[in-house]
């Protein structure tokens, strides 16, 4: 069980006002808010032990290095990753995906096939399109149905001996659908293809177990799970990370440098060129501690209740249609009201203190599939309440009346 009143006290931002109204923050799929224990870690770092890591012999540098590596260990344990060197700390999911997409340039040949799901964020489409341009590989799309679920039958038909890579999000940011990644991974492996799962949306809702999933690559952004922006994870199986060349050259990622030849550092440092987001990494670890103290199982149960309540209440509004109606979904509601533009609804909601996202959610192919310009997206976190859902519903009704 979740004591939401107590939890809300951990998030100072939730008590502010917007346009003279109490903030109702329902844009959690874009970024989550930061609890005081995480903010404290950030302040603590800059107040007490800010230093560059891995090289300094002085005390501050050693303290910072210890804290950063402890954070890596927390990430490792949270996602049940076999080895610490399989945890690459990146600037976030986009960076993580680009490391893999760039690395595969030398591993692909003309005519190789890559499969992408129809419900990806642009960050899990564009790097692969660029990879295809470089290599002559072909990108094929796993279609989805009207409910916003992948067509697994067609996925199986698309898989072949030519398939090298499959990428898919664990949870769709625009629709909330939880994809059957266990099946996707297993079947891809049967034809010898590697799988990258974009876990950006899943991390705040589901505890993904890397060893159990047997996934080849998995990406996370800390800011979706109560951590700071600019830091995230790339998990990769050691055998794959060993095959990929470094993404960026620089300090930290080398073993030895001469002007004739440079040898690269071992994992994970091979992919961590330059001074990393040290404070962000440490705060990422603190965010995982915070989430684990509440428990992702408790969080998911609470959010599912909110989702069911919000879905039922919103559907009472005449002309309101929800996009993404899979039974397997998280607390994301993408909707439109007949005859009204999502931008108009979002603008009025903002004036009423309700923060939602409007637009294509960086997933234009999904909007094209439904033939809509975009949606209004309300996404709920464990610190949201039923009362806030009531405010949302009342405000959507008010917007509807104004625009009708």
């Amino acid at each position: 069980m979740i004591d939401v009143a107590k939890i809300r006290k951990d998030f100072p931002i939730l008590s502010r006002e917007v346009n003279g109204k109490p903030l109702v923050y329902l844009d959690n799929a874009a970024t989550s808010q930061t609890p005081t224990p995480v903010i404290d870690v950030i302040v603590d770092y800059y107040s007490k032990y800010n230093a560059n890591i891995h090289r300094g012999v002085h005390t501050l540098s050693q303290e910072a290095t210890d804290a950063y590596e402890q954070a890596r260990a927390k990430v490792q344990h949270h996602f049940n990753i076999a080895k610490a060197q399989e945890v690459i700390l990146t600037s976030g999911t986009t960076h993580s995906i680009n490391i893999v997409a760039s690395g595969f340039t030398s591993l692909l040949e003309k005519g190789d096939e890559l499969l992408v799901s129809a419900m990806e964020h642009h960050s899990n489409i564009v790097p692969w399109q660029m990879l295809c341009e470089r290599t002559g590989a072909v990108l094929k799309v796993i279609p989805m149905n009207e409910q916003g679920e992948l067509d697994m039958g067609l996925y199986r038909e698309l898989l072949s001996d030519s398939t090298r890579l499959v990428f898919c999000n664990h949870i769709s940011n625009a629709l909330g659908t939880i994809n059957p990644i266990e099946e996707i991974i297993q079947e891809a492996h049967e034809v010898g293809a590697a799988v990258l799962v974009d876990g950006a949306q899943a991390a705040p809702h589901i505890k993904a177990d890397m060893q159990q999933l047997d996934v080849d690559f998995y990406t996370v952004s800390a800011h979706k799970i109560c951590g700071p922006t600019g830091v995230g994870m790339l998990y990769g199986k050691e055998e794959w990370l060993g095959k990929l060349p470094p993404y960026q050259g620089g300090g930290e990622m080398i073993a030895e440098v001469t002007f004739e030849k440079t040898t690269y550092a071992d994992l994970p440092h091979k992919f961590e060129a330059g001074t990393p987001n040290i404070c962000g990494g440490i705060a990422f670890g603190a965010a995982l501690d915070y989430i684990n103290a509440i428990g992702l199982t408790n969080i998911a149960a609470y959010e599912n209740d909110l989702l069911a309540y919000a879905t039922a209440e919103l559907l009472k509004i005449e002309g309101l249609k929800i996009y993404g109606t899979s039974e397997n979904k998280t607390s994301v509601i993408s909707f439109n009201i007949e005859g009204m533009h999502p931008y108009d609804i979002g603008s009025i909601l903002d004036k009423l203190g309700v923060a939602v996202r409007t637009g294509h959610h960086c997933a234009q192919p999904i909007m094209d599939f439904y033939k809509i310009p975009g949606t209004v997206r309300a996404s709920f976190s464990f610190y949201n309440t039923k009362e806030e859902v009531d405010v949302l519903v009342a405000c959507v009704k008010r917007a509807r009346n104004m625009l009708a």
């Binding site: 346009n19 009204m340 533009h341 931008y343 108009d344 603008s347 009025i348 004036k351 409007t358 637009g359 310009p373 975009g374 104004m402 625009l403």
Partner: protein, 140 residues
């Protein structure tokens, strides 16, 4: 009327509203009431980039004055365009180029003016001015 006078008139009208609700309702009414553009001009070429909603703008010269017509698929955006057209359409290109846009701030739409806002009010003004520059060159 010159642009400055029209802008003052708009500012005066908006000063009668007590709160944002009334301002928005007014803009929504403007958005609903205006016949803005001939369908044939709603082409991809006439779309202004940088807006979350679609905005089409067409410009043509009537003697020495520039006439703008426009449309959007979002009502509030359409209301904003209606205000811009009232202020800038049917004016000489050079006057449009020289016109100040501070009145947007004065009518309480400042939040729409930030260049990073997805609604593209800044892009719209820029596009109107670009048309004015193009037609001014033609007139010269």
């Amino acid at each position: 009327m010159v642009i400055k006078e029209i802008q003052e008139e708009i500012v005066e009208e908006f000063s009668m509203f007590d709160d944002w609700m009334q301002r928005y309702e007014y803009m929504i009414d403007l958005g609903k009431s205006l016949p803005l553009i001939n369908e044939q001009y709603k082409t991809d070429d006439n779309i202004i980039k940088g807006c979350q909603s679609k905005v089409w703008v067409h410009a043509e010269l009537a003697e020495d004055k520039l006439v703008f017509t426009a449309d959007s698929d979002a009502i509030i955006t359409k209301g904003i365009i209606a205000i811009l057209i009232r202020a800038f359409s049917n004016q000489k290109p050079q006057d449009i180029i020289d016109a100040d846009t501070a009145f947007i701030d004065e009518i309480g739409l400042k939040e729409h003016l930030s260049p990073t806002r997805a609604n593209g009010l800044v892009s719209m003004i820029k596009q109107l001015k670009l048309y004015a520059v193009a037609y001014q060159t033609q007139l010269n």
